[in-house]
Amino acid sequence: MTKVTAMIRRVWKNLTAYVDGPLLGGVMLLVFTGLLTLYSASDGSWPRVLAQIINLGVALAIMWVVANVPPQRLMRVAVPLYFLGLMLLVGVAFFGEVVNGARRWLDLGVTRIQPSEFMKVGVPLMLAWYFDKNEATLRLRDYAIATLLLLVPVGLIVRQPDLGTAVLITASGLFVLFLAGLSWKIMAGLALAAGAAAPLLWSLLHDYQRRRILTLLDPMQDPLGAGYHTIQSTIAVGSGGGLGKGWMAGTQSHLEFIPERTTDFIFAVYSEEFGLLGNTILLLMFTTVIARGLVISANAPNLFSRLIAGAITLTFFTYAFVNMGMVSGILPVVGVPLPLVSYGGTSMVTLMLGFGILMSIQTHKRLLQT
């Protein structure tokens, strides 16, 4: 008996050696909230929920594997991963499949992949690697090169077009720049330059993207077209009230007034059914995960780890903020899912991969120290 228990204990110890408990706890709370909401959003049917559970299993496995990889080795794959991703993005631009008017997918024969998703991890890894390598001699030129490393993939992704992913990758890159110590003057300069470039960017945007931004200013301008999403999701949130209409009882969701209610707009379903109280709890869950991420970043042993941990955490925040902002009608509709809650395998895998990196940083440091 004792032998068996001892063995089980050893296996358990090996399994959990590189897993960060607090982070995993926060993540799992969000994941279960997501499954609960997904069940309601699919009108009480199981197929989507089961599919999401499978996604979750795969993602957790990947997280575990990554968590077991020491950060030093992660650092080594940063450059190849970045350039592989870049090549795939170029491949998409030439051979990509068009789905819903956007060229985002690449058919590799075995499976279809969305290379822009890889870059969500690839870009911050690359930048963190770059800053770490040039840590001792950081000059303005390095920030310029880092900006270029960021803008090339983002430009390719904007062209697909996939505004949501482009925004997130840009954000992750900027977080690295910011944490790496980019001076406030230059940041102010960049902000001004971005402001000046806005008209140029505007002209590069697709019609539907422009419409989305205009719609945000006045959704009623086009209540059945571009404004429909925003109007209906805002109604869902507002009608939820303080305590919500109750699980499975949201009328806006169940009568199909909310489009894409299992994916990008799942927060409207949640908010309608659980109200302000639920929203507050959800914000606290996100805050918990983010706080843990920032703590890991703050305690990380080297610049690469710090930067990558901080960037991953802040990108995760950006995800959540952009999505909830868009559903509640204060940000334009961009295709950003609510992290860990929305249905979707790719984003789940990418997110868990990020959390795996965070865990790796935290747990390997601990092992080094002890």
Partner: protein
């Protein structure tokens, strides 16, 4: 080495501190933005909650009116005169259709759509506008309905609906009584809004247009029900949350006997005219004829222009309700009432006689008012004056009574004002008086004006309805009941039956001996020597009547000139009033035959057939009115 590492360590520490400051700034930003988000949630979910709650409910719940079944109309024996049946229609929503013609063209490949259907559709669209959907085809066969259903997706603006249709199984028979329903048009809408009934017509497409369908609209329509339906974003009904059932319209049972009506209508043959028969003891209208009639079924779904023009432009004016709105001089049918006035005002006694030279003169006036019989009737008392319809006798009587006395006494029989029958559109006729002439022409009344009033000419005008009513009052010894077509209303909800009670409008005290005299004379009219002797021959009941002839002054302006018709249209109108059995009248009626010539020859036989059927159940054989009826005399 040690120093070096110390510097490096300090460096690292400084860098770490620097990094942590940046991280803290980021954390602060995270908190700030999350708080902003929370503020947004509070704004939406607390301060604007009610507003969004309302929007969500409006999104979700849709009130769908449930149209009630229209009430039935039955004759006095329960024969159905108006009912509803269910059938498929194809309807187009003009608001949703992009190109109406293209839609109809495409539809015509699936179901047959005739040019007539298209014309009717266009006409309806003009009338009804974009209010609701308009039928393009009605009465689809099952195959057609199935064919359309299979192609439904191609026609977003077209709907296949199973609907209740109004149907009048008797067609033309009693069409002027029953009337018809039609699509609600702008005018109907206005009046519904003005009377505050609009809410009850949400979802209703039809409303009574004329006849009983119009005047009993409130009873027939019923109360619209509502369903609170939960709808999804596509507008599809998911489930019914609450339902207020509609209340069907009430069932009208008429006093009218549809078999009697048919006998009466057939008795007219090709003649135009009107007949109203009343049950004197109740005022119930037994038959109500206006010839020619029309098929009311044509109007229900909107009449097509071709049929409409045929009806509207016909010189026979089939759409005019002659019984209610045709105003004719009563002619000699006026004489029994004149006689009553003379007797009641003691201007004449039964034994008073005149010697008739064949004309009447007023002192100081050269004009001679001629009797219809040149040379006159010799010695004439009141009874004889009625039996042979002596004009000279009544010229003198009218002169002695004076116009205002005539107006007052004869007015009590209902002349000169609407009888109050329960179908709208009734005209008042005209019973002249000094006051009336002054108001109308700003002219004094001349003694000479009174003379021809005595024989029902001059300014006198009555509707057949009025004449029948007056006859019923006379037959009923002066007790007048409001004439009514609807005898009983059965409440659809409670099943409770409301009887339209015999409703005495007024009682007119007439001395019995005077009644006896006038009624006796009217019985003699149909006996040998009377002006309707031929029509009255062999009647096994006491048949009281009075013939009349109304002169047609001339052709009205604008009437189509048709050589063969002119002569016919200039002939006199024939009139006849009657009641039977005279000692206990069960039926009183008035007949008017346009251009029928003499009352005794064309109008009286129609009355005889109607009374024979009503009292004896005898169906008439020969329908042709006998034109060569010289032996019956003249009036």
């Amino acid at each position: 080495m040690a120093r070096n590492s110390k510097v490096e360590l300090r460096n690292t520490e400084r860098e770490l501190r620097f990094f942590r400051v940046r991280l803290a700034i980021a954390a602060g930003l995270v908190l700030l933005l999350f708080l902003a988000l929370l503020g947004r949630f509070v704004h939406l979910q607390v301060y604007q909650h009610e507003y969004y709650q309302t929007l969500a409910e409006q999104n979700r719940i849709s009130l769908v009116p449930v149209v009630p079944n229209r009430g039935l109309i039955l004759d006095r024996n329960g024969e159905v005169l108006a009912h509803n049946y269910s059938a498929y229609t194809l309807e187009i929503d003009p608001g949703a259709a992009e190109s109406m013609n293209a839609t109809i063209d495409a539809l015509s490949e699936l179901v047959e759509i005739s040019p007539r259907d298209r014309k009717r559709f266009n006409k309806l669209q003009e009338e009804v506008g974009n209010r609701g959907s308009i039928p393009i085809r009605t009465l689809l066969t099952d195959q057609e309905a199935a064919r359309f259903a299979a192609n439904r997706y191609r026609f977003p603006s077209v709907e296949l609906r199973a609907r209740l249709f109004r149907h009048y199984p008797r067609g033309e028979v009693a069409s002027h009584v029953i009337g018809y329903i039609g699509r609600i048009n702008d005018k109907d809408l206005e009046s519904l809004q003005a009377t505050g009934n609009w809410a009850n017509y949400r979802g209703s497409d039809y409303i009574g247009k004329v006849g009983l369908e119009h005047s009993y609209e409130q009873e027939l329509h019923g109360t619209t029900g509502y369903e609170q339906v939960e709808v999804d974003a596509g507008g599809r009904a998911i489930r019914t949350l609450a339902r207020t059932a509609p209340v069907s319209g009430n069932t009208l049972t008429l006093a009218l006997d549809i078999r009697l009506q048919e006998v009466a209508e057939r008795a007219f043959g090709e003649f135009r005219g009107a007949l109203v028969a009343i049950e004197p003891a109740t005022g119930g209208v037994l038959a109500f004829v206006s010839r020619p009639g029309y098929d009311p079924n044509l109007f229900v779904e909107g009449i097509d222009p071709q049929n409409w023009e045929a009806l509207n432009d016909s010189p026979d004016k089939p759409l005019t309700n002659r019984a209610l709105r045709g105003q004719y001089p009563p002619g000699s049918t006026f004489k029994p009432f004149m006689a009553m006035a003379g007797l009641e005002l003691n201007k004449r006694s039964p034994s008073f006689t005149i010697s008739d030279p064949g004309y009447f003169t007023l002192p100081g006036v050269s004009h001679r008012w001629r009797d219809w019989k040149p040379g006159g009737h010799g010695v004439v008392d009141m009874r004889k004056a009625i039996v042979i319809s002596c004009d000279t006798y009544f010229y003198g009587l009218a002169n002695e009574l004076g116009i205002d006395a005539i107006h007052n006494v004869i007015g009590r029989f209902g002349f000169g004002r609407p009888t109050g029958i329960d179908v709208s559109g009734e005209l008042a006729g005209l019973l002249p008086s000094q006051e009336w002439k002054w108001k109308r022409f700003k002219q004094k009344w001349f003694a000479g004006d009174t003379i021809s009033v005595g024989i029902g000419q001059g300014y006198n005008l009555t509707t057949p309805m009025q004449l029948a009513f007056a006859t019923a009052v006379l037959a009923n010894d002066g007790v007048a009941y409001r004439p009514h077509l609807v005898r009983q209303i059965q409440d659809a909800l409670s099943g409770e039956k409301r009887l339209v009670e015999p409703n005495p409008v007024f009682e007119f005290k007439i001395r019995p001996e005077n009644l006896q005299l006038v009624k006796g004379a009217m019985v003699a009219v149909t006996a040998t020597g009377g002006t309707a002797a031929r029509a009255g021959a062999g009647a096994p009941y006491q048949f009281a009547g009075k013939t009349g002839t109304a002169q047609v002054v001339g052709m009205k302006q604008g009437e189509k000139y048709d050589e063969s018709k002119v002569a016919e249209r200039l002939r006199d109108h024939a009139l006849f009033i009657a009641f039977a059995p005279a000692d206990n009248p069960k039926i009183a009626l008035a007949v008017l035959v346009e251009n029928g010539g003499h009352g005794g020859s064309t109008a009286a036989p129609i009355a005889r057939q109607v009374i024979d059927y009503y009292l004896l159940g005898k169906l008439p054989e020969g329908m042709e009115p006998k034109a060569d009826d010289e032996g019956d005399g003249h009036d």
